[in-house]
C-alpha cells in the first residue's frame, strides 16, 4: 500500500515505501558494513540525521585536491551519510599542535589527518579502525608495506592509511645536459659531479637541511639508509647510528653541500625550493610533483631563459640514488585517525569507508595527478597513469620500497621523537655547515639517540 501523500512525489528526494525501506535495511544489516547499507538505501539512517562530523586535514600542496574535497567530496559524503561533514584544512605545521591540544582537552575534531607513524604517538587517543582498514586492503590489493609499521600499533590499525606522497628529484633537463648528463644522474657520485659543475655555473642543487617537516627528513633519512646507516638495530632498543655507513653518508653530504649545493638551504623551509626552482635559481631539488604541476598550471607565467614554458624543461630523477646499500625512500605515509573522545565514532568510520570507496577515492586521486599515491597497490593499474605527463609517471610505483623512521627497528613513538627533534637532519646540518666534523656530527647524533632509545 502506498502511504506517501501525493505532494511527496514532487519532492526532489527519492522517496521510499516502508516495505522497500525495511527490505533494504535488512540487506544492509546482513551486509553489516555500515556505509554499504546507507548507500543502498540512498538515505541516511535515522541515528545520523542532523549529526555533525568534523575532519581536519593539511593544506594540500596541490590546492585543487582540497578544492575537490571541499566543493564536491565532503558535500557528497554529507549527503550519503546524512550528516553534516565539515572539512577544515590547516598548515601541516599546525596539525600536530592541534592534535596535541585536542587530545589533552578531550575535545575537537572527530577525525585528524595523521602522518608517518603518528598513531604510535597518539595511541591512547585513537579508535581502532582495523575493520575499515581490513575491508579496504582486501578490496584494493593490500596496503603498501610502509603502512604496517606506520599506522598499526599493538596489532591494531589506529590510523586508516590514506595516501603516500612520493618524492623524486625535479631537475632542469637542459642544464644537466650542458654539463654532460642527458638524463638525471643515477648514482651518488654522478650527482656530486653534476652538482659541482652546475654550481660553478651559478646553478646549484637546492636542498633544505632546515627544521622542516618534509624535504629535509625525506632527504636525510634515505641518504643514511642508502649508505647502510640506521638509527637502531632490529630490536629498536640499541642505537646503531654510529656506523661506517652513516659516517660515509655524512662525509658525502658535507662534500656535496660545499661543492654543489646552495648553502642557504640550511635555512630553507619546504616552500623555498619550489620558489627557487621556479625562479631559475637552482638546477634540481628533492620534491613531490608540485614543482612540475605548478609550473605546468602556470605555464604562461613560469618560463625558462628562452621564454618557453618552464615545465617543458622539467623531469624527475629517482631518489635515493644508487651506489650504496640500496635505494629506500622515506615518503609521507598519510592516514586518518578517529579520536576516542568523538561522540560519532561509528559515523566517522563510515566516512572513512566512504572516502575509500573506489568511485569516491578515484575522483580525488585523479585530481592529484600522481602527487598523492593511493595506499593500496591496485591503484598502480589505474588508467590515470597512462594519461598524465611522462615526468609524473615515475610516481606510479614510488611507494613500493619506502621505509619509515626508526629503521632498522620498529617505528615507535621514540623514533617520532628523534624525527620531531630533527636529530638525523641536524646530524647532516652540523657537518654540512662546518659546525662539526663528520665524525663529531655522528657522535653527537649517537649521544642524542641514546638518550631517547636507551634511557
Amino acid at each position: 500500500m502506498e502511504t506517501s501523500r501525493p505532494e511527496d512525489k514532487s519532492s526532489s528526494q527519492p522517496q521510499m515505501a516502508r516495505r522497500t525501506f525495511i527490505r533494504t535495511a535488512g540487506v544492509a544489516a546482513a551486509a553489516a558494513v555500515g556505509i554499504e547499507g546507507i548507500l543502498a538505501a540512498r538515505r541516511a539512517p535515522a541515528f545520523a540525521q542532523g549529526t555533525k562530523l568534523h575532519i581536519v586535514r593539511w593544506n594540500d600542496f596541490i590546492p585543487e585536491a582540497d578544492v575537490w574535497l571541499k566543493k564536491e567530496g565532503m558535500p557528497a559524503a554529507s549527503k550519503a551519510l546524512g550528516a553534516e561533514v565539515t572539512i577544515e584544512t590547516i598548515g601541516f605545521n599546525d596539525l600536530q599542535p592541534r592534535i596535541t591540544a585536542a587530545v589533552q582537552s578531550g575535545s575537537g575534531a572527530d577525525i585528524f589527518m595523521l602522518y608517518y607513524n603518528w598513531p604510535h604517538l597518539y595511541a591512547n587517543a585513537l579508535v581502532d579502525v582495523s575493520d575499515v582498514a581490513g575491508e579496504v586492503a582486501k578490496a584494493q590489493g593490500g596496503f603498501y608495506g610502509v603502512f604496517e609499521p606506520s599506522m598499526r600499533v599493538g596489532g591494531k590499525w589506529l590510523g586508516m592509511p590514506h595516501s603516500i606522497v612520493g618524492n623524486t628529484i625535479a631537475y632542469r633537463k637542459s642544464w644537466f645536459k650542458e654539463v654532460g648528463f642527458s638524463e638525471f644522474p643515477k648514482t651518488w657520485e654522478e650527482l656530486r659531479k653534476a652538482a659541482a659543475a652546475l654550481k660553478k655555473k651559478g646553478k646549484p642543487y637546492g636542498q633544505t637541511l632546515g627544521h622542516t617537516f618534509g624535504d629535509a627528513p625525506t632527504w636525510a633519512y634515505p641518504l643514511m639508509w642508502s649508505f647502510g646507516g640506521a638509527e637502531t638495530d632490529k630490536s629498536g632498543k640499541k642505537v646503531a647510528v654510529n656506523s661506517k655507513g652513516t659516517l660515509d653518508s655524512v662525509k658525502y653530504m658535507t662534500a656535496l653541500w660545499k661543492e654543489g649545493c646552495d648553502e642557504g638551504g640550511l635555512a630553507w623551509d619546504d616552500s623555498n625550493n619550489n620558489r627557487a626552482f621556479h625562479a631559475g635559481e637552482i638546477c634540481a631539488s628533492l620534491n613531490g610533483a608540485s614543482i612540475y604541476i605548478v609550473a605546468k598550471r602556470q605555464k604562461d607565467k613560469l618560463k625558462d631563459e628562452k621564454g618557453e614554458p618552464l615545465y617543458l624543461d622539467i623531469d624527475h630523477g629517482l631518489f635515493p640514488l644508487a651506489g650504496g646499500a640500496g635505494q629506500f625512500p622515506l615518503y609521507f605515509s598519510n592516514g586518518h585517525g578517529i579520536m576516542k573522545y568523538s561522540k560519532n565514532q561509528k559515523l566517522a568510520k563510515d566516512l572513512l569507508r566512504w572516502i575509500h570507496k573506489k568511485e569516491n577515492f578515484e575522483k580525488w586521486f585523479e585530481v592529484c595527478e600522481g602527487y598523492s599515491v593511493a595506499p593500496t597497490t591496485d591503484w598502480e593499474k589505474h588508467a590515470m597513469w597512462g594519461k598524465i605527463d611522462k615526468p609524473l609517471q615515475m610516481f606510479r610505483t614510488a611507494a613500493r620500497n619506502t621505509r619509515i623512521f626508526g629503521y632498522a627497528g620498529p617505528a615507535t613513538a621514540k623514533s617520532t621523537e628523534v624525527y620531531s627533534k630533527y636529530i638525523i637532519v641536524d646530524m647532516y646540518a652540523n657537518a654540512a655547515s662546518g659546525k662539526m666534523k663528520p665524525e663529531q656530527a655522528v657522535k653527537w647524533a649517537e649521544t642524542e639517540l641514546k638518550k631517547i632509545y636507551e634511557a
Binding site: 600536530q96 587530545v103 578531550g106 637541511l209 632546515g210 646552495d262 621523537e417 642524542e448
Partner: protein, 281 residues
C-alpha cells in the same frame, strides 16, 4: 567600604584572585581530569642532560642580554632626540611606535623575507652595489641567525623603551638642566649627573619588563628560524614548544619551560627590592 578598599591586604587579594582562578582552571583542573604519571624530577634531569636544551638555555641568556642592551641604548638615544621640540614631532613619535604596534608574526615574516638565503633584498642590494661577492648567510649560519634575531628584537622592542623613557624625561624639571648649565656642566655631565639619576627608576622598570618579555620570547624565533639551523637559535620557549606541543611530550616541554621560572622570579625579586628601596628613600 572605602576603608576596606584602602587595605593593602584586601587589594592584593582582589588583584591576585583572577590569576589564581585562571591558574586553577588551566593547571589544576587538567591535572584532576588527566592525572598522568608522576615522574619526580626525571623530566628536569633529562632536559639538563640534553645538548639542545643546553644550547637553548645559553641562547636565551645571550639573546636577552644583547637585545636588552641594544634596546636600552637605542631607546635612550631616541628618547633624548624625541624630547626636543622640532617640526613634525608628533608624527615622528607616532611613526616610531609602528614596529611595536605591528603584530610580531607579521613583522617577523617581513624580516624573514629580507634575510631569505635565496631572495634576500639585503644580499641583492649589497651584491649589486659591489660590497659583497658571495651571499651573506643571514639565516643559514647559526651565529648569524641568532644575531639577526637580536636585531629584529631590538627593532621591535626599542620603541617601548623610547616612549617610556621619553615619558620619564618629560617629568624632569627643565630648571635642573638650566641650573646645571649655568654651573658650567656640558651635555654629557648634564645627562650623567641630572638626567640619568632621575631617569633611573623608570629605566629599571622598563629594563625589567623587557627582560621578562625577551627571556620568554617565542614568536620571533618560531617564525624566523624555527630554532634552526641545527638548533642554533632555539630559545627555551621555542624548544619547550617543540617538545611539548609539536612532539607531544608535554611533561618534558613543561620541564623545559619551567627552567625560565627561577630566572624570571629572580628578576621580579630584584625589581621589587628596588621599588621598595626607592619608596624607602
Amino acid at each position: 567600604m572605602a576603608r576596606l578598599l584602602e587595605s593593602e591586604r584586601l587589594l592584593a587579594t582582589l588583584l591576585l584572585t583572577p590569576t589564581v582562578l585562571l591558574l586553577g582552571v588551566f593547571i589544576a583542573y587538567p591535572s584532576v581530569g588527566n592525572a598522568g604519571q608522576f615522574v619526580g624530577l626525571k623530566n628536569f634531569a633529562k632536559a639538563w642532560d640534553d645538548s639542545i636544551f643546553q644550547t637553548a638555555f645559553a641562547n636565551t641568556f645571550f639573546y636577552t642580554f644583547w637585545a636588552t642592551i641594544f634596546k636600552l641604548a637605542l631607546g635612550m638615544w631616541v628618547a633624548l632626540l624625541l624630547n626636543r621640540v622640532f617640526r613634525g614631532m608628533r608624527l615622528v613619535r607616532a611613526a616610531m611606535l609602528l614596529p611595536f604596534i605591528i603584530p610580531t608574526v607579521l613583522s617577523t615574516f617581513a624580516w624573514r623575507w629580507m634575510f631569505d638565503p635565496s631572495f634576500s633584498v639585503l644580499n641583492w642590494t649589497l651584491y649589486k652595489s659591489g660590497l659583497i661577492v658571495t651571499k651573506l648567510p643571514f639565516l643559514s649560519d647559526g651565529t648569524w641567525a641568532l644575531w639577526c634575531a637580536i636585531v629584529i628584537n631590538t627593532w621591535r622592542g626599542m620603541p617601548f623603551f623610547a616612549i617610556t623613557l621619553l615619558a620619564g624625561l618629560q617629568t624632569i624639571n627643565p630648571d635642573l638642566h638650566e641650573a646645571a648649565a649655568l654651573d658650567g656642566a656640558n651635555g654629557w655631565k648634564r645627562f650623567w649627573h641630572v638626567t640619568w639619576p632621575l631617569l633611573k627608576p623608570v629605566t629599571i622598570v622598563v629594563v625589567v619588563f623587557s627582560i621578562i618579555q625577551t627571556f620568554a620570547d617565542f614568536q620571533l624565533i618560531y617564525v624566523l628560524t624555527g630554532g634552526g639551523p641545527a638548533n642554533s637559535t632555539h630559545l627555551l620557549a621555542t624548544y619547550a614548544y617543540q617538545l611539548g606541543v609539536a612532539t607531544g611530550l608535554l611533561g618534558e616541554g613543561a620541564a623545559v619551560s619551567l627552567f625560565m621560572f627561577p630566572v624570571l622570579f629572580a628578576v621580579v625579586c630584584v625589581q621589587l627590592w628596588y621599588v621598595r628601596r626607592m619608596e624607602g628613600a
